[in-house]
């Protein structure tokens, strides 16, 4: 099982903060996962496709070519807003 986290405004589009899934065959990278999630829900797809939404695999920021095969947790992160 892989835990998918939708932070900030992505949660509104995803309808949930956390989703636990068995990665379907063929989902090898962060980019694949982004495309698969987007195809499932147009609303989430619109939010996820922004280049300002980064991904973290097991708490490390990675690019879309990074593997998710061994990932325990993949988080999608809209722009940060601290302070």
């Amino acid at each position: 099982m892989t835990k998918i986290l939708f932070m900030g405004r992505l949660r509104d589009a995803a309808g949930a903060e956390i989703e636990e899934i068995d990665l379907p065959t063929g989902i090898g990278t962060v980019g694949d996962l982004r495309a698969w999630l987007s195809a499932r829900s147009p609303e989430l797809g619109g939010a996820l496709s922004s280049s300002s939404v980064r991904a973290a695999v097991d708490l490390e920021i990675v690019d879309d070519a990074h593997s998710v095969q061994e990932a325990r947790e993949v988080a999608f992160l809209p722009p940060f807003s601290g302070g």
């Binding site: 986290l5 932070m7 900030g8 405004r9 973290a56 708490l59 988080a75 992160l77 809209p78 722009p79 940060f80 807003s81 601290g82 302070g83």
Partner: protein, 151 residues
């Protein structure tokens, strides 16, 4: 020494500053407190929701704090940041820097705030009478961050 804390409980800046240990070589402590606004434009703010990503958020702020502390030769850097639901008027963040002389302390606090605005993994949602709005860094915040190269 660096201390970073993220807390769901109320932040008391006066108590935090009073408890700040002072190394004999410290001649200056500068601090900044950010507060939750009560108004957004002409609308009243009901509450501010600050979402963190447990572990990740604290680690990223620690990384920024180490870079700032190193650059400005601080004796101490304290960052206390709220998470959870805040009422208007409540403190959101306290940054305090202790150094031998005032210039490093002032500069370090300003730098730390510039980084926190765009690089601290929080997500802010303002609850207003007309509904909820996600708050992202302003153009000014992004411009100030882009002008820095400490990290």
């Amino acid at each position: 020494m660096i201390e970073v804390r993220i807390t769901g409980a109320a932040l008391d800046p006066t108590a935090e500053l009073a408890a700040l240990p002072r190394h004999p070589g410290v001649g200056a402590v500068a601090s900044f407190v950010g507060y939750c606004r009560a108004e957004a434009g002409d609308e009243a703010v009901i509450a501010l929701h600050l979402e963190e990503y447990p572990q990740f958020t604290a680690r990223e702020i620690n990384r920024i704090a180490r870079a700032v502390s190193g650059k400005y030769a601080l004796e101490r850097l304290l960052v206390v940041h709220r998470a959870g639901v805040l009422a208007p008027g409540e403190p959101i963040v306290l940054v305090a820097a202790a150094s031998a002389h005032r210039m490093q302390a002032f500069a370090a606090v300003e730098a730390m705030m510039d980084y926190l605005k765009t690089d601290a993994p929080f997500w802010k949602r303002e609850r207003r009478a007309s509904g909820s709005v996600w708050i992202e860094p302003s153009e000014e915040d992004r411009r100030r961050r882009a002008a820095r190269s400490d990290t």
